[in-house]
Structure formats: C-alpha cells, structure tokens
C-alpha cells in the first residue's frame, strides 16, 4: 500500500505513526512546504518571545520519522490527481498513492486594504514568519495589531513582551469574540489594557502606508494615522483548501466520522476539514491542536484499514492570555435554555449554559479548578439539575457529580 500525507502539522504527526503501526510494510511519503521537522506550531509565540529554543519546538524525538521508514519531501503540493491517483508537487514531480491524507491546516486571513502586501505586514502561522517577527520585534518602536480574537491578542501580548509599544485595533464589538460574551470580554479587556496596550474598539485598518516597500504607518477606519514599524494581522486562519483536484473553495473540506472525503482514497484531518456529527446531523468545524491530533490518529488508522471513528461532540479550547487561563467547553452560544454566571472579577469569570437540566457549555476565565469535572459533566451528559450554582464555585469539591463513573479529578 502507498500512502501520501500532505502537510506535516498536528494531524499528520499523529496519522503517520497510526498508519505505520497497522501497516509495517507500506510506503509512506510526507510532503511539507516548510523545511523544518514537525514542530509545535501553537508554541510559536513562546519561541518569538525567546522562551523556547528552536530545538525545543521540535515535536518528534530526533530520527523518529526515519525510524518509521517515512520518506519526506520538502516542497509544496499543488494538486491531487484523483484519476491517476497521484500527488503533484510544484516542481511537477508526481508520487502515486493508494490513500492520501490532506492535513494542510489553515493559512492566515489577509488584510484586503491598500498596502497589505508591504514588508512588515505580518501574521504568525509558520516558523518562517516567527523568525521574521522576531527580527521586527527586536527593532523596537510601535506595533499595530488588528484583530481582537485569540490570534490578535497573542500578537499584542508578544509585542509588549518584546518591549514594543502596541496599538490593538478591534474591528469586532468586543475582545475575545466569538468565544467570550460581553461580561467575560470585559475581564480580558482590563488585562490587555493593564498590559499597556492601547485598544481601539470598533476600528479596523483602512490603509497601510510605507516607504521602500516597508510599513511606516496605518490609517484606521476612523481616519486615525498611527506610525508603526510593523502591522500584526491577527484575524485567524482559513482552511488551506487550494489544492487542485480535490479542493476548490475556501470552505472546510467535508469528511465523515472516519475522516474520509467522498473522493475514493482521499482522507482529511485537522484544521482543513469539518467532520460529520451524526447526532447533530451536520458537519462541525472544531479547529485546534487537540482535535487535529485526534483526527489525524483516526484518519491514519483508517487509511491503513482500520474502522475508527472521530467523535468529539464537545469542543474544548484552552489557552492562557495575559496570565489569564481561558477555557471554553462545549457550546456556550445559543444552544441552551438556561444559564448562570458569576460576577466578573479582575481575574475570574464563569458562565455555564444548560439545556434540559444538563450542562452543555462552559466558559471559564481564571482558575481552572474543577474545569476537568465540568468537562466530564458535559461530555457524559450528567444531570446537573439542582447543582447549577455549585458548578460556579471553585471552593467546593464537585467530584461527587461524577460518582456513577468512579472518576476522581484533583484539579
């Protein structure tokens, strides 16, 4: 059997060993346009801030791919020829496959304004971009970052940590959107402002001016001019679907629970795809490192003849911004029929959403105590009626809610 894996990110990293453990003989070829070994993409901010060395970012033990007898091709794949069953790279060479995995992730959303392609207009999605960003941060001055979601806030935090002045343009109506509601957003807003970031709400970039091909200033949608040495684009990513043959538009690629697309022999995993959720009767898009890894594992196993399913009915996203732990579990949007919130404090806020007496979503800012219990209460569909207010508290043990399972969580 011949396997091709396109991309070497979180999904591919789990798919490859999963294939190999089921098929010790098959030929595996992995394509990556980045020259690096598999690395922890989500830790790039720590790398930029000098907290991690490049070697610490490598995601595999040294020599791991070689030990699995995997051929690695550095270069961009431009097409998957589903008739001839081969992968086509940018230099025109082809590699035949019986099964192919598309794990191409996302590419950063670009600004569409004049000057958007000047040098110093930067996003952070790749090691190469991280290296460039490092250079700009060292040069000092002011950064203008656009985007009030997690990517934008991460860029602002990085700029400040590197000693730069920073202006954050938030085109949305709040920071932390879409994850945070207005109250939770206030908590985060304070943190960002206290870090010395100048926040301009409801304002975006109208134009970027430069000299000698490099950024010099930004004009905001309110007409304000801000001199700066780089512009951070923190608008998130779009599924990287521009692969001739199998992917056309910029919507996530649809796969079933076995991570197979409807093209024979073609699988997809990670941020590039959305997975069929039988219970909800719809495809769901759950980007993030954990989902990508778990999907990659399932895809790899199934490519090599397994019958595994990916099921993650409850999304889980956790991050730490401005020393404030943020945890989002399940559906804290409009899915519920009741909700309880704690009063927002400087370092804590909780919002829990219930439906038919069961907890379906949680937003936890600050102390993650009992977040794991809450997560299991959601995952297992435990009846939480009568415990709604208890679930908001950090000072009492919630483990009893899981009694039928015998599980015990210390944090």
């Amino acid at each position: 059997m011949r396997y091709c894996v396109v991309g070497l990110g979180a999904a591919a990293a789990q798919a490859i060993p999963a294939i190999r453990s089921r098929d010790p003989e098959g030929e595996i070829t992995v394509f990556s346009e980045e020259p690096w070994p598999f690395y922890f993409r989500a830790s790039l901010p720590q790398y930029v801030m000098g907290k991690l060395s490049r070697e610490q970012l490598w995601g595999f033990p040294d020599g791991y791919l070689e030990s699995l007898n995997v051929r690695r091709v550095t270069g961009r794949v431009v097409a998957v020829d589903k008739e001839a069953r081969q992968v086509v790279t940018e230099d025109g060479s082809t590699v035949p496959y019986d099964r192919v995995l598309l794990g191409t992730g996302t590419s950063p959303i670009k600004l569409a304004c004049p000057g958007a392609d000047l040098g110093g207009v930067l996003a952070l999605g790749r090691m190469g971009e991280a290296d460039v960003l490092k250079g700009y941060c060292r040069a000092g001055g002011r950064a203008v970052v656009v985007g009030g979601g997690l990517p934008g806030l991460t860029l602002a935090r990085m700029a400040r940590a590197m000693g730069m002045a920073c202006t954050l343009l938030v085109p949305e109506d709040r920071v932390g959107a879409p994850w945070l509601d207005a109250r939770g957003s206030q908590v985060l807003y304070r943190r960002v402002a206290d870090d010395g970031v100048e926040i301009r709400m409801g304002e975006g970039v109208a134009a970027i001016e430069g000299g000698q091909g490099k950024v010099a200033a930004v004009t905001t949608t309110h007409g304000k001019g801000i001199a700066c040495s780089w512009v951070g684009v923190g608008l998130g990513g779009m599924p990287r679907t521009a692969l001739a043959g199998v992917m056309t538009d910029d919507k996530p690629l649809k796969v079933n629970e076995r991570m197979a697309t409807d093209v024979a022999g073609v699988f997809a995993a990670g941020d590039v795809c959305c997975v069929w959720d039988g219970d909800a009767g719809t495809h769901r898009y759950t980007p993030g490192w954990q989902a990508a890894s778990l999907q990659g594992r399932v895809a790899g196993a199934n490519m090599a003849g397994g019958r595994e399913r990916f099921r993650m009915r409850h999304s889980f996203l956790a991050a730490t911004l401005y020393d404030l732990p943020l945890t989002f579990i399940g559906r804290a949007d409009s899915a519920g029929d009741a909700e309880v919130c704690s009063p927002p404090q400087a370092d804590a806020y909780r919002r829990l959403v219930f439906k038919d007496g069961r907890l379906v979503g949680a937003v936890i800012l600050g102390d993650r105590r009992h977040a794991n219990v809450i997560r299991r209460v959601i995952e297992l569909g435990v009846n939480a009626r009568g415990h709604e207010l208890q679930l908001l508290r950090t000072d009492i043990d919630l483990n009893h809610l899981l009694r039928p399972t015998g599980e015990y969580h210390l944090y």
């Binding site: 989500a42 830790s43 970012l57 490598w58 490192w289 778990l294 794991n372 009893h400 009694r403 210390l410």
Partner: protein
C-alpha cells in the same frame, strides 16, 4: 523485562482506565510549550517535551534521562497550574510510573510494609514492627491494627503515620482528650490509605487499599474522619466522592479551627511562616484553614512561593534521589528563613518529618500546627501528660544511579 507496557484496559483497574483515557486526550492537546517542565522542581533543562510525550505513550523507549525524571517526580502537581492549555502533566507522569519497569528498589522498600493483605511474610514483619514500636508508642499502641472499632462521632485515622516519630498522632489525641471528644482511632500499617501506592504508580494496590479502608471506616460509622497527613486526607476525599458521603474527611487544621474557641492561645513572639502541603493547598485548594489559625497564634509572613504555588517537600521520592531532595528542602528552609520568621509551620506530618531534621542547621524552627496548639494547652491542668520527642527519620543523603527493584 518489558521497558514500557502501556497495557490495554483489560489490564487496568478503574483508576487506570480513567487515567489512560485522560492521558491520551491530554497528550493530543499538548502544544509543547515546556511550561510544565519549567515549573517542575525535578525536571532538568536536558528534558524535551517531544521525547517525554513519545515515551509516555510508549512509541519510543524511555531514555535514562526520562526514566530518572519519571521516578524522581514527586507528584507534587506544580506542573498543572503552569500549563497554559489546562493539561495535567502529573497524571501523564503517573501513567508512566505505572508502566515503567523495573521500578526502583526504593519504591518497593518504601511500600513494602504499607497496607494489609500480602501473605504471611508481610503480616509477620508488620507484627514485628508493631511489637518493636510498642514501648515508644505507649498509649497509642492499643490502636495499632486493632480488629474492632467502636462507633464514634470522630474517627482519627492515622494509618501508617501512627508510627511517625514526630509524635503528632499522640498530640492530636491529647487535644481530643482535652476537649473531651467521643472518638475512635484507626492506625497501623494494615489500614494504610493507599495514596503512597498511587503516587508510586501502583494503581491496583492503591485502589485495593482504599476500598479496604472504606470498609474499616464504615465499621465505626463516624460523622467525621480526621487525618494528620495531607495524602491520607486526599485518599479520604476521593473515597467519599467516588463511594458516597458516608463521612466527612477533615484535616487537623479544620478540626482545630472548628474547636479553636475551646483551646487557649499562646502567642508566638517571632513571626510565623507557613509551608503548604501540595495535596491540601494546591490539589485541594484548602490551604486557608491553617492560615486562619496561624493568624491567631502570631504574625504570619508568606514565603514568595506559597499557597497553590508552594514547593514540595519531596517526601516520597527521598530514597530515589536523596541528595536532590535534601537540596530542595534546604532551599525551602532558606526561603522560610529569608522571610524573617523564626518558625515554619506545616500541616502534614510528612512535611514535618521531611523538614524537621534540617531545621537546626537552617536556623528556623519547624513545627506542625498541632504542635502550636499542643504547646498552648500542655500546661493546662486538664491536659494529661503526653511525652513526645522527635528523632530524625532521615538518614544521610546519597547520590547515585537509581537502584532497580530486586537490584
């Protein structure tokens, strides 16, 4: 012998099944930021997350560096609040401990006598220990491994800590007598709570002992069960969460605090500082109880690393790498000294055993909360005399390769 055997669920008890599920999900979410290792007291800079994660799931055999780290891990939990994405590195390392063979001999030595069952040899050795300890334990000796418990409101559960040379168990009972409590006592190796086994990775034995302990406690049908060890307390918390609220687990700190109005208070002239027990302050977030008492006894100054950010005494890992553990303990005592406090108070008998032998050299007094209260009441006429003395349980530190089991 296998180097890594992450067995299937069939081979696992219920703690293992939950742990495996959690570890697999957590590893998939690990973004490799190294924050857990940076917060860890035992991980060195040579340890890389990629290698550790791969070894955790058994896809590469553990290197010597990883092996050493896994065995040396205190299970103190400092790594958990450090993780930006909410993962529990301590659970991942525990999973490794449970799968990594051969185990260090120090583990086996430490656990050999703890817990009931295990055939004639262990029982004989335990009986011998009981006999030898009898003169030293005095009144406490009657409670060691006793067969029947009478019903009582309060059960003092000491387990193996009844033997502690700190004398904490005897002092607590003296306080109970002073108050005129209706109590019963459960102690001895055969009623070990099993938490030390859990921390060493012996999940099956741990669960067996916890189940056994639950049965024994039910015999006394107590309202509350008071412990002098942070880990025993955690084991009791787990039991009531998993099996039902048959009783209320209580630390000595909260037992004392509830009765504080009935004890005399003797102010300590020098300022006090408090060393948090990892299980109570970080894992269960109950470090405030002890502090409330301390503020009555004197002026409390916090160390820079305190509360949920406290550092571990390394009790269980002492034998695995004594030199490292002693070094960390000395650092902790120096930190206490730097606050200007004359006394460092602890609330777990294991922390006391860990620090007290090094206290003189560090120039700071180390006492248990129980000692403070006991000091205050001991001259009271209602108090029965309880001779207590401290002898060092700590032998000289040594550094060298970890001896494997049976080595």
């Amino acid at each position: 012998m296998p180097t890594h055997t992450n067995g299937g669920p069939g081979a696992l008890n219920s703690i293992g099944v939950g742990l495996k599920r959690k570890v697999e999900a957590d590893l998939a979410a690990c973004i490799g930021c190294h924050e857990c290792l940076q917060a860890c007291p035992v991980a060195g800079p040579e340890l890389r997350i990629a290698d550790l994660n791969a070894a955790t799931v058994g896809i590469i055999p553990p290197s010597d560096v990883i092996r050493r780290f896994v065995w040396e891990c205190f299970q103190c939990g400092r790594c958990v609040p450090a993780c930006p994405v909410g993962l529990e590195r301590d659970a991942m390392v525990l999973w490794q401990k449970s799968n990594l063979y051969p185990r260090p001999k120090a583990y086996a030595d430490q656990l050999r006598l703890m817990g009931g069952g295990g055939g004639v040899a262990r029982r004989a050795e335990q009986s011998l220990l009981n006999l030898q300890a009898r003169p030293r334990l005095k009144g406490l000796a009657q409670h060691v491994d006793k067969r029947t418990l009478r019903a009582a409101d309060t059960l003092f559960f000491f387990g193996c800590n009844i033997f502690s040379e700190t004398g904490t168990a005897a002092k607590v009972l003296a306080l109970a007598d002073y108050l005129g409590c209706n109590y019963e006592v459960l102690g001895g190796m055969r009623s070990c709570c099993g938490w030390p086994h859990l921390l060493s990775g012996d999940l099956a034995r741990s669960e067996e002992l916890m189940d056994h302990l639950f049965g024994r406690i039910q015999a006394a049908a107590p309202r509350e069960v008071v412990t002098i060890g942070a880990e025993c307390y955690t084991a009791l918390k787990r039991l009531v969460a998993v099996k039902g609220e048959a009783f209320m687990p209580v630390t000595t700190a909260s037992w004392i605090r509830r009765n504080l109005h009935r004890f005399p208070i003797k102010q300590v002239a020098d300022p006090l500082t408090f060393h948090d027990a990892c299980h109570i302050s970080r894992k269960l977030d109950e470090g405030e109880e002890a502090r409330r008492i301390l503020r009555q006894f004197g002026y409390l100054i916090e160390m820079p690393q305190s509360g949920g950010n406290g550092v571990c005494c390394g009790y269980h890992q002492f034998e695995v790498n004594p030199a490292q553990v002693v070094h960390l303990r000395k650092k902790r005592l120096a930190m206490a000294r730097q606050t200007g406090a004359g006394t460092m108070v602890v609330e777990c008998v294991r922390c006391l055993e860990a620090f007290a032998p090094l206290a003189d050299e560090a120039g700071v007094r180390v006492v248990d909360l129980v000692d403070l209260v006991h000091d205050a009441v001991k001259d009271d006429s209602r108090m029965k005399p309880q001779p207590v003395h401290f002898t060092s349980p700590i032998t000289q530190g040594r550094k060298g390769p970890i001896p494997a089991e049976g080595a």
